[in-house]
């Protein structure tokens, strides 16, 4: 029996509807869960994404790309296959793709989180028979603190730096995380600045109607910006370049789910780390699987073998859905670095 979705050399494919979800190569029809580089790749003939994600996808795919949009929850048909997009809570306009045909329903989550995030639509559980889930943080050691608690920690740290006249630098992905972090900042402490790569997407978020605190471009040749009371949001790649030196004395902190581990913090040499992730943590992953009502679960992107084994023990029909990487992929150090370097590969800086 052939499946509704299958992996071929181009990526995750729906034979009945002749379209791909987040294809690895250039194809004719690509349904895109979200605009991160490992999900949205340039060069396909047609893209389809959620309407709120259009501006963001446009900044990544370029002006010539053909992008069609559809509202969350709106059903449409591709060659007789029933398709709809539903909020994934990962970043603005991120979708789960629901595909239904001949009485069988699949849901592909893309990347997702269940936590609150004021810069994007909240994850919505969609009943299905087959649930395709990411597993980036699929180990029980990963349990996220409350975002409000993390926001307090960040603002406390920023205030202490500001009082000491030392510019704060927050490192986070340019797309999604940076805007989420900005939304958590308390603008009464001092001025907020964005690296060029971050600003481009801040504008796309604003154009899509997301409310963010005032964020300025970095003034040229300025040390101690905002008189040392300022905070800069920059992609992690910027920390490794001379760019960071222009601010004089700085206090640098990384914002990432990986910061939960002491070993990672020490290895990366970040004196400070804040635990904030746009991926689902372990308890939420288990909850999402349960809520989907699916009996069959395909695990991708992350601790695939471990999560699949655990779900099998818990009575699910669980399998690994391979990613394009040769061999298995685990979000150990290489993946941390890969994620951090994603921004390097997209030099949308000034």
């Amino acid at each position: 029996m052939s499946d509704l979705l299958e992996i071929n050399p181009n990526g995750l494919y729906c034979p009945a509807g002749n379209f791909y979800i987040d294809p690895w190569r250039q194809v004719s029809h690509a349904v895109i869960t979200h605009a991160h580089a490992d999900h949205a790749r340039p060069g396909s003939e047609r893209y389809l994404c959620a309407s709120s994600g259009k501006h963001v996808l446009r900044t990544r795919m370029g002006n010539n790309a053909t992008i069609n949009t559809v509202k969350y929850g709106e059903h449409f048909s591709i060659h007789g296959v029933d398709v709809s997009l539903h909020p994934a809570g990962h970043l603005l306009g991120s979708s789960q793709v629901r595909v239904s045909h001949r009485g069988v329903t699949w849901v592909v989550t893309g990347d997702y989180k269940l936590q609150h995030d004021s810069t994007c639509e909240r994850f919505e559980s969609v009943p299905c028979d087959v649930f395709v889930t990411e597993s980036t943080f699929g180990l029980p050691v990963y349990r996220w603190p409350e975002p409000a608690t993390v926001a307090d920690e960040i603002n406390t740290w920023w205030r202490a730096n500001a009082d000491a006249g030392c510019t704060s630098v927050l490192l986070s992905y340019a797309l999604g995380k940076a805007q989420r972090v900005a939304s958590l900042l308390d603008p009464s402490i001092g001025p907020i600045y964005g690296h060029g790569a971050v600003m481009k997407l801040v504008e796309a978020y604003r154009a899509s109607g997301v409310r963010l605190p005032p964020i300025d471009r970095i003034p040229p040749r300025s040390r101690k910006i905002g008189g040392g009371r300022g905070i800069v949001i920059a992609p992690p790649s910027a920390a490794a370049t001379n760019w960071i030196n222009r601010f004089g004395e700085t206090s640098i902190a990384m914002v990432s789910g990986w910061m939960l581990l002491r070993g990672v913090r020490r290895r990366r040499g970040f004196p400070k780390g804040f635990i904030l992730s746009d991926h689902v943590d372990y308890p939420d992953l288990m909850q999402a699987v349960k809520a989907s009502g699916a009996q069959r679960v395909l695990v991708t992107h992350g601790f695939t073998d471990i999560v699949a084994r655990l779900l099998t023990e818990r009575g699910y029909q669980a399998e690994i859905l391979p990613t394009r990487f040769i061999g298995e992929e685990r979000p150990d150090r290489s993946a941390v670095d890969k994620n951090l370097e994603d921004d390097l590969q997209h030099p949308e800086s000034e």
């Binding site: 180990l139 070993g263 990672v264 004196p271 601790f303 655990l310 150990d332 150090r333």
Partner: protein, 563 residues
């Protein structure tokens, strides 16, 4: 406990020496002396009680977290720190644990020493049921980050990233004493009680001064050319013995043998203690413990077999007798002579220990008649003879010969030098023989721990025996971070099989393996043990079939030992 946990995390979160010293000073200045004593012994790496095995602790944590054990193991392999892993998986509120709901007393006021007694020391030897109840109760009392510290304490593996020097500095600032005085006192005394700590920081002379050793002076590895050291007449050369560094303290208070790790080793080396009786009162010798039969020097592996024992039986005493080879005299007739020049100290040393040590490894493996019970000074205590050489080149030739003599190379010491403390460059150099090297193939890999968690950095290397790889060494160090990341990716993509955290890989990676020496071994499948193996470089230019064979290694062994 909370204060100690805070100290632990403060020390962990900074690399600044000043901040570390400040954190230590604040801690020691604000806790009661019995807590200070308790913290000090942990910070200085004193032997800790392993009240609970890590196996039990992970089983109980798995059950408390309602997770299968294998998942906890996988998590540990990813995190690289068991104490942290368990703290991360445990629910914040342990509601699912039945029995003994217990009063969640405010533990912030609970003293560290009291806490250590109740939740660590008292558990030793108790039945598992009791231990488990205590463990669960303790989990309920602690916050997640305190649990990490406690897990380390209860499994006897709490190591903190501060040196004794820093601790001594902090205590010096607190007490107004000299850091060196504190360093010496910390070395001599076992600090367990409030009184111990108070006398440690007391400005009065204390009773622990009786058996106190001196801080060891450490040599630096020779990095430049020896000719740059100037005239050879200003230097003396000795063999660099491959044993254990130790000080023998002989005073009216008794006799003590101190390791460099500042542990008393009297129990492991009773024959040396006996021999030291003959030394004059008020003598401190610095030297090397070696294992040697009457006619030949035994390899280091034999000595380490002994040193790890609390008590040594007759059999070991006979099979692996120890000797002490002294190379410096720090105290003569009760007087500290460390600031005298080496030439003076050497003359005094020879007057006290007149016999030089000349044994070499046996060239043939014939049985040697053992002599037991013959314990006079002359065949236990020796001085380290000088290696003569009129020029640096002559010494260089002597050094080439080091491996055949069973030594690691030469020590070069300036004859005018005083006995300093710690590692101060310039007066003492270790000029080791160039390492041996072969090319070996990676066949197993495992994720590292701590800083290297999640990266496959623990390598098991093999050489070819026909078309099979035979393991010859495990090696860790020697590669850059960038290389480690790249190799990690290759390991992931060439994995053939996984056994828990260990991956068997397709032989593709070749490394140049450096080591100090080879010896026969019955413990290793290959029949050969290599000493101090480490990776010299990654040989990207070599394919696996170009790597060394077991017969290459056997030939090397033959060449060195003459066997």
């Amino acid at each position: 406990m909370q204060r100690f946990s805070d100290l632990y995390w403060k020390l962990d979160s900074t690399t600044s020496t000043n901040q570390k010293v400040a954190a230590l000073r604040n801690y020691f200045g604000s806790v009661p002396p019995q807590d200070a004593a308790c913290a000090l012994s942990v910070l200085c790496g004193a032997k800790q009680v392993r009240a609970i095995s890590t196996r039990l602790l992970r089983e109980w944590a798995a059950e408390a977290a309602e997770l299968p054990l294998w998942l906890v193991e996988e998590s540990y392999a990813h995190v690289g720190d068991l104490a942290e892993t368990l703290a991360l998986i445990l629910p914040e509120q342990l509601t699912n644990i039945s029995g003994g709901s217990g009063t969640t007393a405010d533990h912030s006021s609970l003293s560290l020493s009291h806490f250590m007694h109740e939740t660590v020391i008292d558990l030793k030897g108790k039945p598992d049921v009791y231990k488990r109840q205590k463990v669960e109760e303790t989990w309920r009392r602690l916050k997640p980050r305190e649990r990490i510290v406690w897990h380390k304490l209860v499994t006897g593996g709490c190591r903190v990233g501060v040196s004794r020097t820093l601790v001594a500095r902090a205590l010096a600032e607190l007490s107004g004493l000299e850091p060196t005085t504190l360093a010496e006192r910390m070395m001599a005394a076992t600090i367990e009680t409030a009184e111990d700590f108070q006398s440690l920081i007391s400005t009065e002379p204390t009773s622990v001064d009786g058996l106190r050793p001196y801080p060891f002076f450490l040599a630096s590895p020779m990095s430049g050319e020896v000719h740059e050291l100037g005239s050879i007449t200003e230097w003396q050369a000795e063999w660099k013995w491959d044993g254990m560094r130790a000080q023998i303290v002989r005073r009216s208070a008794g006799i003590s043998i101190w390791s460099r790790g500042e542990e008393r080793m009297n129990d492991a080396f009773p024959e040396i203690v006996d021999a030291a009786e003959s030394l004059p009162d008020g003598t401190v010798l610095d030297g090397e413990l070696l294992a040697a039969l009457p006619n030949n020097l035994l390899p280091f592996s034999m000595l380490s077999k002994r040193a790890s024992r609390k008590r040594v039986g007759k059999k070991i005493l006979a099979e692996i007798p120890a000797v002490f080879v002294a190379y410096d005299l720090l105290e003569a007739h009760g007087k500290d002579i460390r600031s005298e020049p080496l030439s003076f100290r050497r003359k005094e040393l020879l007057a006290i220990v007149p016999t030089g040590f000349e044994k070499r490894p046996a060239s043939a493996g014939g049985a040697v008649k053992l002599q037991v019970g013959n314990r006079n000074t002359n065949d236990r205590l020796f001085h380290s003879p000088l290696v003569s050489g009129g020029t640096w080149d002559e010494l260089g030739c002597a050094r080439q010969n080091a491996r055949h003599r069973g030594v690691e190379g030469l020590m070069l010491k300036r004859t005018t030098s005083s006995y300093a403390h710690g590692r101060q460059r310039g007066d003492w150099w270790k000029w080791k023989v160039e390492p041996l090297e072969i090319d070996a193939v990676l066949h197993y890999a495992q994720a590292g721990h701590g800083r290297r968690a999640g990266l496959h950095t623990d390598y098991t290397l093999g050489v070819w025996d026909g078309n099979q790889l035979v393991t010859i060494a495990k090696a860790y160090s020697g590669l850059t971070d960038e290389e480690l990341i790249e190799i990690d990716k290759i390991i992931r993509s060439t994995t053939i099989e996984r056994h828990g955290p260990v991956r068997i890989v397709k032989p593709t990676l070749v490394f140049q393996l450096a080591f100090e020496n080879v010896s026969k071994s019955t413990r290793h499948k290959s029949g050969i043990a290599v000493r101090f193996p480490r990776i010299a470089r990654w040989r990207r230019d070599k394919s696996p079939h170009e790597a060394a064979t077991l017969s290459d290694l056997k030939a090397l062994l033959e060449q060195i030992t003459g066997e």
